[in-house]
């Protein structure tokens, strides 16, 4: 029992406590309301932040590409497929694989195939197959129709829509017009080791390190020795389709890549780099069809040089071939990896790897037309041509 005094004290206390409790209650209510307001404000702020983040900081999702098989066509040399008797429905593109060469219709498949005699020079304009020591060279169009014949003990080669022959000294070159008439003939200072051509320029590299570019009339457009190495030699050469940019891999100890651009009437070095490579054989390099990207072999893959930005990226791949191939409309670079397990690699110009398309092959070749990729594949069981179309999802 609480004593009366205590009750009184309690009564005396209780009203104050009650007041406190009343104050507490009102305070509590106020606090609750304030809390709710804070929460509301916080919620609004978070929402606004999220909205801002969504628009300002969002990173686009990476492109997703797919390769859709369209057709597969076996390659059987000297055996014309049925489709060859009818008119081609698509462009005819060349292939060379496993000692055979020929052309295929992009819409349907193999058009014709032949065994390579001594050698063959192929282009999208036509071909010339030849014996090891030819008495004559027969130049044919993509359908196999004879265009003209040249009587020269020389090897034919083509690039940039132009036709050339190389004499037995590995230094004398003749350019021919569309009817086989000689346009110019020149003996280079030493053995030729590298070559590329566009309609505007035929670029030759020599074993003693000289770069010579000639016009269609045989006039010298560029004559340059990059130097800078203990042993001078040109191992790779490339010229852009418009002829305004040329590139070469030159020298030993140290080896470097040199890019030159046309300024007024002469070519100036605009970029070069010692690559750390030590290639002592021909080096693959090529400009993209647009001419604004240059790709070239590197020990761990290949390099991509942006001509406009003058920047370089290195892409890792296992001994790639065809490093310059591109699906222009999709901004995708392609490279075939050499080896028993052939891989088709797809990259962006910035070096992002999109995907790897794996397939088993002893040997592979690559052609591109529009958004279509054409693979020549040689396996133990035979050889096939495959068409795969690029799609973006």
């Amino acid at each position: 029992m609480v004593a009366a005094a205590d009750r009184r004290s309690l009564r005396t206390w209780y009203p104050e406590d009650l007041q406190v409790q009343e104050d507490l209650g009102q305070r509590g209510m106020r606090q609750g309301m304030e809390e709710q307001a804070r929460r509301r404000v916080t919620g609004i702020l978070v929402s606004l932040f999220a909205l801002a983040y969504f628009f300002v900081c969002a990173i686009p999702l990476p492109k997703v590409f797919s390769l859709k098989p369209i057709w597969a066509s076996p390659i059987i040399s000297d055996n014309l497929p049925e489709s060859s008797s009818s008119a081609a429905t698509g462009p005819l593109l060349p292939f060379s694989i496993g000692g055979s060469f020929g052309y295929f219709d992009t819409a349907r498949g193999l058009r014709f195939a032949s065994r390579i005699p001594g050698g063959v020079s192929l282009s999208r304009e036509g071909y010339a197959a030849y014996d090891r020591v030819p008495a004559t060279i027969q130049w044919r169009d993509v359908q196999g129709k004879l265009l003209f014949e040249t009587e020269a003990a020389a090897y034919p080669f083509m690039a940039g829509g132009r036709r050339f022959t190389l004499a037995a000294d590995q230094a004398t070159v003749t350019e021919l017009d569309g009817a086989g008439k000689e346009l110019w003939r020149r003996t280079f200072p030493s053995m030729l080791t590298a070559f590329d051509a566009s309609p505007a320029m035929a670029l030759f590299g020599t074993f003693d390190g000289r770069l010579l570019g000639l016009s269609r009339e045989g006039q010298i457009l560029v004559d340059f020795v990059p130097g800078g190495s203990r042993i001078d030699c040109v191992f790779g050469a490339a010229v852009s389709p418009d002829g305004k940019t040329i590139a070469a891999v030159t020298g030993l100890d140290r080896q470097r890549i040199v890019v030159m651009e046309r300024r007024n009437e002469s070519y100036r070095v605009t970029w070069h780099r010692y690559t750390g490579s030590d290639y002592r054989r021909p080096v693959a390099m090529a400009f993209s069809p647009s001419g604004d990207m240059l790709s070239y072999e590197m020990p761990d893959g290949f390099g991509l040089y942006d001509v406009l930005k003058r920047t370089e990226r290195l892409l890792v791949a296992r001994e790639p071939s065809h490093p310059g191939a591109a699906i222009a409309s999709k901004g995708v670079m392609l490279a075939l990896e050499d080896g028993p397990k052939g891989d088709l690699l797809a990259f962006s110009h910035e070096g992002t790897r999109y995907f790897t398309y794996g397939f088993a092959a002893l040997e592979a070749s690559l052609e591109i037309e529009g958004d279509s990729v054409f693979l020549g594949v040689r396996q133990d069981s035979g050889m096939d041509l495959l068409r795969l179309d690029f799609g973006e999802e």
Binding site: A167, A171, P189, S190, M191, R280
Partner: protein, 289 residues
Amino acid sequence: MRANRLMSVALSFTVLLLSASALDWPAASVAMVGEFGSPNLRVPIPGLVLRGADPSIRAAAPGEISFIRRPSDSRTRLPSAFGTVLVAEGGDGIANVYAYLPEIKDPGALRLSAGALVATRGPAGLLDRDGFLFSLYDRKSSRWINPRLFLPHLADGKAPVIRHLSLDGKDHSWVMGEQKSIPQGSYSLAIEVAELADSGSEVIPVPPHFLRILINGEQLVELHAEVASVVEGKLSFFSTLVGNAAVYDGSGRLTLASRLFPRGKTVIELLARDFAGNERSLGWTFTVE
């Protein structure tokens, strides 16, 4: 200018002789099937085409391998008329070139030792006979050098054969020995010299190692087929006296610079000597009207 040229050649050869490593024939019991400057499929050979008793091709000297090109290499659109070619740096800017080789294995090392197996001879490249090419290239002066200057002497008792000497004008060519007089005018001398092949029956066109021509007792040209360089897009051989270097076309024909033949009796004397020291000399007398 002539004196300077003589001195530079002499100096070059002295440096080469003093600094270049001695060479061994790159094949055993070697036979010469193509001399320096002789034609192969309408172009002059910038070296020696050799054939050994056995098909092994060996390094003539030690060197650092600087370049290998196989015809099957698809990294370049350029064909290989030289078949498989291997270049080894012999030192002092002299490159040893082996060409018209069939496929070779990866050497496995950057340095080639003297006598190391380079390849086994077989049909390769644009060569119209059984053999392979061995040559020297002087990087410093951008010239092919006749390797015979540095290879052991090959015994040879056959004198060169002078097949043809003509005076070529704008419209007509006068073959010496076929007429007693020619019209006055400017003519260039065209000479064809050949050697008997080892078989003794085949005649192989070849520029002589040494050639001297006198006209009326005065020396017109003295030529040493020891180096060759490209001048204005054509392969030319060094000549000591004629203003323009002698030019070989692809058929083994040597053409000298044009000169005026004035009226009167003219005597042309020609002396050709091969690398082994065998000589042949001939003379022609005719009247310029």
